[in-house]
Symmetry: C2
Subunit: 328 residues, 2 copies
């Protein structure tokens, strides 16, 4: 791995999301020194979002009392399919107009330093692998359950992104071929049955059918602005309807884990994302049990299934790792 | 890769199946010089089968007018979960009593030369990669549709078997969570909806429900001894019922391909196994179209989906490659 020069020894990691942009300023030993956060406002169009990414990067550097000259490179995790070599975001379904956006090229022009772009879930598993698992396991599968379901794969100790740099698109693994329609157009994708979006849809459908839940007391009948944390509050106050749905979703996640263990045989499976972060006690036991029940004999021996504790910082940390690995 | 000594320059590859044992004698440049075949007769018990494997190996060597002294090692593909390091067959569902069988240890004692054991589908994809694809693609997924569905994964140019040497168990990837029961106890595994076993079950159920098919004319109402080749004959004689089932199964296989491309991003997907070998024209078009329709944008760019032409010899060739790679 090339070492950055002593003049520019810092790295910036950016987690670009559909609703917010997070940036972190990291030392070369991956210690986070300053962070910044901006809303994405993707409705303002692609150039405006790229300007906001730039501003967020500059804010994080300023927060750490440093200057851009001291930064050797920027890594970005983007929410969609990315062509790593050109740094182009091929398609980001939750960002308006993000199709074939030359993010690396544009930002390098605006900042004057090297920029590297990868898929956000790949980046998050890279962050978890390096910062949380201390790069120990040689093979890891990361599963991030949030608005959608993202994933990433570490093989032989390195982020594995495959022939088209698209490996790890586990959210669109079909697990229920006759199941509910997914945003991608297929039926029964992993994220169509087990993401926060799927959970909220099932809750709303249940309420429409007359199911009783504390969520309507908490949020009103329209269930506006429901968040993962609301599910936790409802369950901890004894909401049987929400409990049941989360149990079923945890079973789906467990089946997803078992599929990935059968296919990839990883040493560690890491779960993260807003839903798992909000409901670790409610979900992890069921996920682990279901995965072990479903996996083939022999495949689960010694395999660890763990919840990440990095939370939001997985993305910016992994993005800084990406920059560090690629800065020449 | 270590070169065998000049004295013992030959390799034996064995494909151990539930019904037959194939052995091939290969030169160090992987040219097949002689083969032998025996029925497995697993009902006679484990030691008897190991004796038959030994006999089949000796027959193949004799067929090539060589002696055991000229063989530097034996590779074996076994139909189940294998612990590569110890050479133990952990579990082979289609072989009576095959649980924790120390195949490597026993055969090395009987033959006096090194023996290496891997899962049969892993071995087959290794054979296809080396002998058919000339080791060119860096990443390959192999899918073998036969009695069950086996798979294997090449990553960074090498067979990838993961932490527990169990990677590539794609037959037990759940794709229809509420679907038919699988031999493994789960519902809707890939092989429960798309293997030859699944095809035959659907045909038999259809006939029971009064569906008309040429197969009953060909094989009698009990549909005894149905083989993949019978499906081809029926379809080519215009059997709409069988055509329809094969179309649906090809769609399932296409969804399986798309799942694996989304997860692994391979450069080449190779299909093989008795069902695909018997019905390439009927299945490959539908498999490819369904996979492309289902995969995420960007993932399929430049990815080749091909039918293997190696047939039965993929297993013995891959087993010889395994021996060659591991003989010291």
């Amino acid at each position: 791995m090339p070492e950055a020069s002593s003049k520019a020894d810092y790295l910036v990691g950016v987690d670009l999301g559909g609703t917010k942009i997070l940036a972190g300023l990291f030392s070369n030993s991956l210690e986070c020194i300053g962070t910044a956060k901006l809303s994405t406002k993707s409705q303002r169009g692609v150039p405006a979002v790229i300007d906001r990414i730039e501003r967020c990067i500059r804010d994080a550097i300023d927060e750490a009392d440093l200057s851009l000259k001291q930064v050797s490179g920027v890594g970005i995790g983007a929410p969609g399919a990315v062509d790593f070599d050109s740094g182009t975001v091929i398609f980001a379904p939750n960002m308006e107009g993000w199709k074939d956006v030359p993010l690396k090229k544009d930002l390098e022009k605006q900042l004057g330093i090297p920029v590297f772009v990868e898929n956000d879930a790949n980046i998050a598993v890279l962050g978890v692998h390096v910062a949380e698992l201390k790069s120990k396991p040689k093979s890891v599968v990361g599963i991030f359950v949030g608005t959608g379901i993202g994933g990433g794969v570490i093989i032989n100790g390195e982020l594995y992104s495959g022939f088209n740099h698209t490996a790890g698109e586990i959210g669109h693994m079909v697990i229920d071929v006759n199941g509910p329609k997914c945003g991608c157009g297929n039926r029964g994708c992993f994220e169509a049955v087990a993401s926060r979006t799927a959970i909220f849809q099932r809750i709303k459908a249940g309420v429409k059918d007359g199911e009783k839940t504390l969520l309507t007391e908490m949020l009103g009948d329209g269930l506006e602005d429901m968040r993962s944390g609301d599910l936790r509050k409802a369950i901890r106050r004894g909401d049987k309807f929400v409990s049941k749905i989360i149990e079923q979703v945890a079973e789906y996640v467990g089946i997803g884990v078992s599929n990935l263990v059968n296919i990839l045989g990883p040493e560690v499976v890491v779960l993260g994302g807003g839903v798992v972060e909000a409901l670790p006690d409610e979900m992890m036991g069921i996920i682990t049990k279901t995965a072990k029940d479903h996996a083939m004999p022999g495949t689960m021996k010694g395999v660890e299934i763990v919840a990440s504790k990095l939370g939001d910082s997985a993305g910016i940390t992994g993005a800084a790792v990406l920059a560090k690995k690629n800065v020449k």
